[in-house]
Amino acid sequence: MPQVDHNPRAIVIGGGATGCAVARDLALRGFGVTLVEFGDLGSGTSSRFHGMLQSGARYAVSDTDYAAECMRERLIVADLAAGVVEQTGGLFVSLPDDPPEFSDRFYDGCLSANIPVEELDPDLVMAREPAISRHVLRAFSVPDATVQSWRLVNLLADDVRRRGGEILTRHQVIGMKVRNGRMCGVRVTSAAGEVTLEADVVLNAAGPWSARVAAMVGRTVDLELSKGSIIALSHRMVSHAVNRCRPPTSHDIIVPTGTVGLFGATSEVVGDPDTTNVRGQEIQELLNNAEVLLPEVRNYRVYRAWAGVRPLFKPKGWPSEKPVPRRHSVINHGDDGLVGFFTVCGGSLTTHRSMAEDLGNQVCLSLGFDAKCISAITPLTRGKNGHGWRPADNYRGIEEDRCYQSLVCECEAVTQSEVIDLIENHGIKHIHDLRRRLRIGFGPCQGTFCGSRVAALIARYHPDFASNDDLGRFWVERLKGIVHTAWGQQARQALLSDTVYRETLGVRLKPELATSADYR
């Protein structure tokens, strides 16, 4: 086994939750780390989901080991990143359509996976959650939570930077450097030109794009890409994440996230990791299914719809009728002749840390580098961790300071000082990147009134800011999610919003903005 006598250098490809966790894990072990992300941090699958920090109960019957891992990790994440986790709690409700025998198996599965589960009186649950079906037969509470994934990803990245690592966003890997059967670096391109980065190991954490990354050096990763579409409903009609108590499938969960309720998700095998469009028919299908759990769902406004692509790892020879396992896998491509190249895939946002730990252990083993994983016991944030995140915290702050005049995004109560801090101290210069970090444009108006205010603030600090293009791109991207939910009041909103952008602000929606792939 080779022994390294210096601190090894690692390149991590992919800036989602997994990639950032891998970078942090290795930085904590003493590696020199460079993370390369072709869009903004967390702009892929890590943010295109319903925001659950799972207790694992969902998989308690189908995959008890994975459920137990989720529970362990859920506690660790909620502890390390308390400020981005909302402890909503979760409910599993059995409705007349759900298989009655599943409930007992569910309860036993949770116990086996060490998930604290409690059966509740259905009447109590229906009183506590007035928006859900009046036909709850059995109900269980589990410690589900929600997480602000963009904020989590940025916390991880900030910690990597603090520990000397480098985070390169909007850098795309265009080639790999291989010498004598060893991976020794990658070639990346960005607005600043092309450059080669040297490293001892290259770690592929590109989620649904990881097969493409591996293909650059002729390696395969057996992914099953599964698209999940989600709709954002107008407000928090539930206070817990409410699941159907049945074998995990599509359309069975409503999650209170921020100020909205997210219902999802569909599940559809796709070929292209960039498949993030949502068809109108999928939305109707979501609403039809949602009606069983949320009888009033058609009276709520649907703000937008989006989709993410789950990178599930499907081992060779896996029977097609069996659901693909959710647990992650680490592939050491050294086993098929390319030393120093690893891929991690599968898993979920909840298990991002243990995925990184698993990968880190294998990397250290292959390098003969003796360093233990300390990511679960090293504080992620400086200073006190504080209480958990509450979506009303922003509103609370504004009421306390009476700083009404400084509101930038009214729907999500985002103030000027938050925007300026990111522009000034974190080098952010796109409306999109502020949106991800601050929830700008997430509310009913979907960016109608905050876009121009944000643009004005960016322009104050970046005189060369192309505000018209950036606003156009922002609005085109917002429209993409609204267009299939634009009936009733949201259609009215879309018309008002479009008029504000085109007529009042004079933003030119160039054809190339409308046809370009996702702005990440």
Binding site: P391, A392, Y404, C411, Q493
Partner: protein, 413 residues
């Protein structure tokens, strides 16, 4: 038909009021029309306090201040193109902030009971009026109760209206009920007397089933706890008249709007009985205009006066146009001008509070300016606290439309 279904909340409870937040498109028309937001940066406006903040209220309770600065005028709701019950959302938020009345100030508690104060003060009207007319007493009241020393407190009149009615002979005719409310009973008997005489003139016999208060001050300041029993008693007292098919006529657009729409919106009183009472309530001017204009025209004498009409904020909530204006236009030779101000500033009991008095003055400034320029002989307004406020701010006599009409009939122009 006297329209009832158009009111947001008349047959729906608070859930519908709050649910209307989803209709907001953030257009900001409500903010542009809000008379309070126009004069102070302390108040972030109805869009913020209403549909916007409501989304956060569902996500967890936080200490709030801004809703308490809303005067409850309801202009926001009436201009909203998306039927968001903005003002009602804010009022329900106020009730939460003050814990349904548990955390309400002593001064507001007093203001919320105009019937009680009127009844107590009415036992010794001369003494009460002398005391409350003294600036020293008003300073003491201000420091004890937070009621501003120059807020327009009305004079108490004992129970003059009731006494007058008891000795007033009415000929037989179709019977109508008059909801006089606590203001007519205790502070403004002349309006009631004018209405009864006017209705008698048109051949009606007037009944006054109760002198209870509609409890609007309680509801609009969030004291919903104690309001419930009072409101139920009022509904019970009015319902027998409704059962006999009578209309319930009101000379106060604010009391009548409360009866028509607010018990359902704020107290979830969506039962049939409350709904029947709500549907039977009709504004006095609306009633007079509907089928009586021809007869009135014949008996109104010329009145060559400069008259300024200020429609109170709650009038808009009725969605019935401005029947008072149409009635006054029947008076020959009247020189009628309409107020350009959205609100006189008093907002029911809002402007009485020490910390809101300056805002109320600023809101009412444009009306005062219009009065200065137009120099009316008389001002007309359908709501009592507005009248007391306008009279105090302008020193011009301010009366209810039925008083003006009765004067025209009497030839006292």
């Amino acid at each position: 038909m006297l329209h009832s279904g158009v009111f947001i909340g008349i047959d729906h409870g608070s859930a519908n009021v709050l649910g209307s937040m989803d209709q907001c498109t953030k257009c900001g028309i409500c903010n542009a029309h809000c008379p309070v937001a126009a004069v102070t940066r302390e108040f972030p406006g109805p869009k913020y306090c209403g549909p916007q903040a409501q989304r956060f209220r569902l996500a967890g309770s936080v200490p709030e201040w801004s809703p308490m600065l809303c005067s409850g005028c309801g202009v926001c709701t009436s201009v909203c193109p998306n039927n968001v019950a903005i003002s009602d959302i804010i009022t329900l938020a106020k009730a939460d902030i003050v814990g349904g009345g548990d955390r309400i100030s002593l001064g507001q508690r007093l203001l919320n009971r105009p019937d009680l104060i009127g009844r107590l003060g009415g036992k010794f009207p001369t003494l009460t009026n002398t005391l409350l007319g003294s600036s020293i007493v008003r300073r003491i009241v201000e420091s004890l109760f937070g009621i501003h020393r120059s807020a327009p407190l009305p004079e108490v009149h004992g129970r003059k209206f009731r006494k007058w009615l008891a000795s007033h002979d009415q000929e037989n005719g179709p019977i109508v009920s008059y909801f006089s409310g606590c203001a007519i009973e205790n502070y403004d008997p002349d309006v009631g007397i004018a209405l009864v005489r006017l209705l008698n003139h048109l051949g009606y016999k007037v009944q006054v089933p109760t002198d209870r208060c509609c409890s609007l001050p309680m509801l609009s300041s969030g004291e919903t706890g104690p309001a419930r029993a009072r409101v139920q008693a009022l509904v019970d007292a009015l319902h027998p008249s409704v059962l006999t098919g009578q209309k319930i006529i009101s000379t106060s657009t604010s009391c009548s709007l409360t009866l028509r729409a607010k018990y359902a919106a704020y107290l979830d009183m969506t039962d049939d009985k409350s709904g029947e009472v709500a549907s039977a309530v009709v504004d006095a001017c609306e009633f007079l205009l509907d089928g009586h204009a021809g007869r009135l025209r014949k008996c109104l004498n010329a009145m060559p006066l400069r008259v300024l009409y200020h429609g109170p904020c709650q009038l808009r909530g009725h969605k019935m146009g401005t029947p008072a204006v149409e009635l006054m236009q029947l008076i020959p030779e009247i020189n009628l001008q309409l107020s350009q101000a959205d609100c006189c500033g008093i907002g029911g009991t809002y402007g009485y509070e020490k910390n809101k008095h300056d805002i109320a003055l600023a809101v009412g400034a444009s009306l005062v300016e219009q009065v200065r320029q137009f120099e009316p002989d008389i001002i007309v307004c359908d709501s009592e606290t507005c009248r007391w406020n306008i009279e105090a701010r302008t020193s011009v006599e301010c009366v209810h439309p039925v008083q003006l009409l009765m004067r025209a009939i009497d030839g006292r122009g």
